[in-house]
Assembly symmetry: C2
Homo-oligomer: 338 residues x 2
Amino acid sequence: MQDVHRRIVLKSRPKGYPELSDFELVETPIEDPGPGESLVRAHYLSLDPYMRGRMNDARSYVPPLAIGEVIVGGVVGEVVRTNTDASAVGDVVEGRLGWQEYGLARPDTVRKVPFPDIPESTALGILGMPGLTAYFSFLEIGKPVPGDTVVVSAASGAVGAVVGQIAKLNGCRVVGIAGSDEKIAYIKDELGFDEGINHRAAEDMGAALDDVCPDRIDVYFDNVGGPITDAVIPRLALRARVVICGQISQYNLEQPQTAPSVLRHLLINQARMEGFIVTSFQARFEEGRARLAQWVRDGKLKYKEDITDGIENAPEQFIELMRGHNFGKKLIRLYEPE
Amino acid sequence: MQDVHRRIVLKSRPKGYPELSDFELVETPIEDPGPGESLVRAHYLSLDPYMRGRMNDARSYVPPLAIGEVIVGGVVGEVVRTNTDASAVGDVVEGRLGWQEYGLARPDTVRKVPFPDIPESTALGILGMPGLTAYFSFLEIGKPVPGDTVVVSAASGAVGAVVGQIAKLNGCRVVGIAGSDEKIAYIKDELGFDEGINHRAAEDMGAALDDVCPDRIDVYFDNVGGPITDAVIPRLALRARVVICGQISQYNLEQPQTAPSVLRHLLINQARMEGFIVTSFQARFEEGRARLAQWVRDGKLKYKEDITDGIENAPEQFIELMRGHNFGKKLIRLYEPE
């Protein structure tokens, strides 16, 4: 086994959109696992929008990354050395080991990937954090009722695509918003969304929403914020639910955008808006994974992965993700076992 | 008994703040009650911020007033003629009879004022719609926990004053925001609020909030919207609850104000914001009234009324209310029985 491995650390805090120069690829010795630890060789890294927030030095639900620290992120890999009975060499595990080829894990920081019949990469996507986010936040905060009109932003993304499909399983009418005709064709033709709006092509988002939501909007699942959300909110139905899952349009702005207040619309519609972090439902993750896995096996949930090889490409691919240029769940493949 | 009475009708839809010329005082014959109806002589009219919304021709939770229609509004008065067994001459009743000296009532549009030991005017205030609004929305949406920091805007108003006092009964730390030093002295010295901020005197609302809310804000009860709310939202605590009860700062604007989006703050704090109309809790009004009445009798809930005599003064007093120049629950007294 090699002695050194590669990792990507935060070199400088991005101002606005991240640039390649904000990241540094460093070579460093592979550490020996200490007592109770194991060493994991990464197969896949997950790139997710929440990582952008960690790069700022601002209050959020977790502390910011330090300069020089390995970028946070979920990883699927295999145990190659172990000093704990909790994992055996060869186990495929998932955990937040960061953007590096090898990581040290403890039993409480990784979990064994539970479904050998489903590709392991899904542990970072539809059966991982994005899938669980979609499952719990849509069902518990969105509270769908059959017949509801559900609007999902970033509808072809790792979370949005799952939300839309679960909404269909719930008997809802589903409208997806995405940034290309190709994405719209995918969510309608492959995933079964009822309608789609390409927000880059729509001249007037409000009019486009009126066309496909004549009875207004019962659930809005928001991954993006900004002008798309500004167009949705005035079209909420009585007792609508807004799930705030992400605000990617705002993460790379140096000055926040301004817009008319949403409060009046919530008031007159007796509507609710709630932010959500998936770890709130940690106690129910096993339930969520089992349900999602069964739907995947039954062909009721489809997923799409956008995979690039090589850790050195993680920063560039993360920037692409920030610009909405991904098509499906963004992954970096470091090593593919035979 | 006289043959004619006076009423105030909507003459034109206000643009921005209402003006006296938007209202018309008309004299009209007193109608005879039909089968099942009774005739009620008004003692008090209630002036409430929600009435402003009815004067616009815009979608809201109820249809707008028509031009020429009597202004909506709650009334307490006495039955002077009756064609129904459901009410007897002399009964003191409350209902939405509008800005007029005499109104026709049916058993389903008025209710008998239930507490003869408490002044009847409270049926429009602390034991009426504003008190019930405070009771249900603060408890059911605000979900107070002892030790929470609760911030209330329009804190000396008909709803805010009740919210703050119920928050104290719940063991919360309560900060009120109001528009004069006199109001701040009242909420602190008379009602027992822990802190107060005079928003007209504060140079920097954010800094003023930081001073009195060092542990951030767990519940924000919003009656006003606009810049006060914009200063509160970035200071929400983890899992904060925002009750949207009113947005009076916005009701008289021809163009809505813009501000940075609240969604990011709700997301990172896993916070919830919900609009609320008191009639959602209609099935529990009796419970709410009984509880509020007992607190009033026990001296645990205090109230202040801002009373002006004469229906002809209702438009001017309503404009004062819109400008925040009321001090306590705004009432027009038409007639005081001996």
